[in-house]
């Protein structure tokens, strides 16, 4: 049973025995749900790193600018 593909043609596969809308919308929703919850955190991570890098660079630049003045 397990090794039998239930469909003989691609259009039959899409048709899902008359439940095309329901089956495909559920699997579509599921795919969007999973993709969104994996890629949104990854994108957010890039944003966080970018923002923090910017902060660090500027605070270091400010330190460098101040350091010689402090030595004098």
């Amino acid at each position: 049973m397990l090794d039998v593909i239930q469909f003989s043609s691609f259009s039959e596969f899409l048709h899902m025995g008359g439940y095309a809308f329901n089956v495909w919308s559920v699997y579509g929703l599921f795919a969007v749900f999973i993709m969104a919850n994996l890629f949104l955190p990854l994108r957010k991570k890039q944003q966080i790193l970018k923002e923090q890098k910017r902060r660090l660079l500027f605070s270091e630049a400010a330190d460098d600018a101040q350091a010689p003045a402090g030595d004098k």
Binding site: F13, G17, Y19, V26, L29, F33, L38, Q52
Partner: protein, 247 residues
Amino acid sequence: MWLWFAKLGSPKWFYELSSKWLPWLVGAMAILLSVGVIWGLLFLPPDYQQGYSSRILIVHVAVAGTSLAFFPLMAVAGTITLVWRMKLADMVAKNAAPLGAWFSFITLATGSIWGSVSWGTWWEWTDSRLVSMLFQFFLLLGVISLRSALEDSDKAAKACALLSIVGCINVVIIKYSVEWWNTLHQPSSPVSLSPDSPNGPEFWIATGIMILAVYLFLAVSLILATRNEILVRERQAQWVQDLVRQE
């Protein structure tokens, strides 16, 4: 034991450990998900009553089963926050609430799409599982809005921890009382409204694989979100600054 516990509480330790584990978790999740989905869509024989619409159930049951884990998870994290004041537990709890709301929402959506075939209606109050899932969804929204309303993050952590513990007890009571309420309002028609009138062993094996895959997905997405939270909250720490420089 306690040393291990204290170590686990350190965000740095968690970040480094999760960096090692993530590829494995993602790999296992990807394999199980593809096996589940391909099997579900291509190989699963049609149910004699429901036809191919039973394929919806694989996804629905897996997501629904995983949604039930959120309140216990948040209650445990809340207890750790309140008793041991572990920051990491709150970072997990903070991200678990919106993720749990997503899971509950997808459960409701897939449930009602399945119901539109099986019951002929998109919403059915006599299905106690969907009704209690609806109230779980509302309770999670309550936790999220409490978190966003409290500005002080320490206070928000403790308040949400307490609300999660109260909510977890409440979800159980709601579940049983809705079931009870339901048995008394059952319509006279003898049609089975249970979403898992089973369809042979293949169906259950496929569902089992899917449940495992969705649990792994929960772990992966929660870990990803928690890692982001760590980067934000620990931004003053030297190791985070080093990490930022390397990027």
